[in-house]
């Protein structure tokens, strides 16, 4: 019971920051696209790269959760 709570807490709290980050990245990318539609390719590449950076933080939390769960 305690362990289950710890697992849920680790991934639940760990996902908040990256979620906000990816939301911000997406909204800013849409804004940039609205201002400058010709730069679609460059914006998409940079946005995916930024998303991957933000997502990596969530993956760290996920690894902690997985280690707690399966070892």
């Amino acid at each position: 019971m305690d362990k289950s709570f710890a697992i849920a807490f680790a991934i639940g709290v760990g996902a908040i920051g990256p979620a906000l980050g990816i939301g911000l990245i997406g909204s800013k990318a849409m804004e940039a696209l609205g201002r400058n539609p010709e730069a679609e390719g460059a914006i998409r590449t940079t946005m995916i790269l930024g998303c991957a950076f933000a997502e990596a933080i969530a993956v760290y939390a996920l690894i902690i959760a997985l280690i707690l769960k399966f070892t």
């Binding site: 590449t45 995916i48 991957a52 990596a56 993956v59 996920l62 690894i63 997985l66 399966f70 070892t71």
Partner: protein, 242 residues
């Protein structure tokens, strides 16, 4: 009931003290496949244009796309860096997609799966991360000279630059871990997601997730090689230039 999930690769057999795990086996298969495809591509490229196969042109198109992507990052250094970056991209892509094939993870030897995606093993991704970071240092020394590159880390002109140098050393070391954990985490999360969805709803439900994992595998290959390109680009640019 939760299915059998292991976050470390499981040993299959051992030569004396060298233990062959299922990830090692899958990586060996992918490496042999990679070499064979490369040889086939090489043989095809020496043929007259009319006799080349459809596969050749598919690979050609893929390589062109990858080349354009890296060219936008590394600019004039692309001719030297493309073999390294392209190899990173293609190897990780094949590794990720090989792990999604039916049979990988479901063919069992006793209790353990015979094959397991290579990137779902921290040893493999750590090795890739170490190679990437060492190559970053190598190109830094090659283009900026021995003293020029070291002055980025050991700078005694004023106290602030000295502490920035220490932070640079820490960031170089932490890049290894961020490279390896990003790839490992994404791939193993995908595998566990697929296994759990398939155990909850046996039929069809895992299909959209499988499509998403194909996309994630591609994105992670792009991200790994693009980040390596960006770090090399940063290392070969001297401080006075930017």
């Amino acid at each position: 009931m939760i299915p059998h999930i292991s976050i470390r690769p499981e040993p299959i057999f051992a030569f004396h003290r060298f233990i062959v795990t299922n990830s090692v086996l899958a990586t060996a298969v992918v490496s042999v496949l990679f070499i064979l495809l490369a040889l086939y591509y090489k043989i095809q490229s020496t043929k007259p244009k009319a006799n080349r196969s459809l596969f050749f042109y598919t690979v050609n198109k893929l390589l062109t796309e990858v080349y354009t992507l890296f060219h936008s990052v590394t600019e004039d250094k692309i001719t030297i860096l493309f073999p390294l970056l392209g190899a990173f991209f293609l190897f990780i892509l094949m590794e990720n997609w090989f792990g999604l094939l039916p049979g990988v993870g479901s063919i069992l030897v006793g209790e353990t799966p015979l094959l397991r995606g290579g990137a779902a093993d921290l040893n493999m991704t750590l090795a890739l991360g170490v190679i990437a970071v060492i190559m970053v240092q190598y190109y830094g020394f090659k283009y900026l000279g021995f003293g020029g590159y070291l002055s980025k880390f050991f700078n005694f002109s004023n106290p602030i630059n000295f502490f920035i140098g220490i932070l640079e050393i820490v960031s170089e070391v932490s890049r290894t871990f961020s490279f390896s954990f990003r790839l490992f985490g994404n791939i193993i999360a995908g595998e566990i997601l697929l296994v759990i969805i398939a155990s909850l709803i046996p039929v069809f439900a895992s299909f959209p997730f499988l499509v998403m994992e194909i996309f994630v595998g591609l994105i992670q290959a792009v991200v790994f090689s693009t980040l390596a390109a960006i770090f090399i680009k940063m290392a070969v640019t001297s401080h006075s230039q930017h």
